[in-house]
Point group: C2
Amino acid sequence: MSPKKPLILVTNDDGITAPGIRALIEVMKELGEVIVVAPDSPQSGMGHAITLNDTLFCDELKLTETDKHKEYSCSGTPADCVKIATQEILHRKPDLCVSGINHGSNSSINVIYSGTMSAAVEAGIEGIPAIGFSLNDYSLHADFEPSKAYIKSITQHVIKNGLPKGVVLNVNIPKLTEAEIKGVKICRQAKARWEEEFDKRTSPQGRDYYWLTGEFINEDHGEDTDEWALAHNYISVVPIQFDLTAHHFIQDLNSWDLND
Amino acid sequence: MSPKKPLILVTNDDGITAPGIRALIEVMKELGEVIVVAPDSPQSGMGHAITLNDTLFCDELKLTETDKHKEYSCSGTPADCVKIATQEILHRKPDLCVSGINHGSNSSINVIYSGTMSAAVEAGIEGIPAIGFSLNDYSLHADFEPSKAYIKSITQHVIKNGLPKGVVLNVNIPKLTEAEIKGVKICRQAKARWEEEFDKRTSPQGRDYYWLTGEFINEDHGEDTDEWALAHNYISVVPIQFDLTAHHFIQDLNSWDLND
């Protein structure tokens, strides 16, 4: 008897109709039993938002006859999708949760704003091994083909080895052909940031409004960073955690004598 | 000549009309020059969301004649408020950013979902010393008086000492009288989580929908955690960072040989 196939929850933040999640579903179907619970509309930049002050809808989609898996479209955020999938649809923990493939980078500081990664982190909090995949190409016509073999291999390693409690993987893929990609590099998150520039406009009614734009600033040139890896044609894998404690600063803080 | 008063940016996630931000503004006016840029509506559970796919409005409020400071109401998230404050309103970095006082706890894993803390983290990314304050009382009628002396003291320490690059403070205050509060404790983030329970209902039109509810599960009984401090009548101060790299797992990951 062959071992039981792992149950894989697939989600994303670009919405259930995005090409990126279609590519991810295709790869995951080669590795296990797939269930899809994803937002009904794009949720980019949602960070780790959850829906506290509104109702959530979650409807099963009608798929073609040849599809063997189930898909659900949810009105909430990526983190909501993971919560509702485990509690209301599966009624148990899946063996793995994958999120993406995001249209656009979630490397370095982008992880903080990322809906894709928030789904992976939410799964991690619930004790489910989880990976977020992003392709450094914002286009709706992005080519996900070169990513597929790498995504399959990284996922197989996670299925085989598991992940430690409190850790999920943030995988970013450069926009290159398969021949150009040099391989996979384990990295730390580069200390980069966005320098905002707001595009100020005036509405036809005379009210000022803004569009958020910005320039990406990376002053961290460490060769062990995800930005370095991506700029040098590698796929970056950063293990990330959700214990945010800055342990290195606790001793100093204690010397402040806040109780004096 | 007395030294120049620090410029303090005040924001929150409960919205500009919430009693908590009023209490925080009052304390900050004793410590520096205050500017308020806060969401025009409640943003609880927004995590580190930013507004990428919509326009932002940001309007100056008309205050009473006795008010010496300025306030702006913004249609975006707490992180948006910090971005727009520094770039479009102040045109420079404030000396400090404080967020809150949140109506409800942001201790342990709640930091991940917290709009209050996302504002502090956003300021931290921009290199501004930042603190998020939360009172463990969800009521609109919460009593913020017992918090004020502690908030003033912690803020004075931060103004005096600064904070290291990449670190902001997460301060949580128990719902107690001033006499009952035992003091301040520097802590690490407890490894706790929410166990979701969805309240499933049916709309008048016959469509199922859900409300997110849940039970808080804390299996981390360390006496150095924020949950322990709060349960034992202390104010918890957790230094948090936004480099999410799980450095301890990098060596293990390298042994996986992902390039084989």
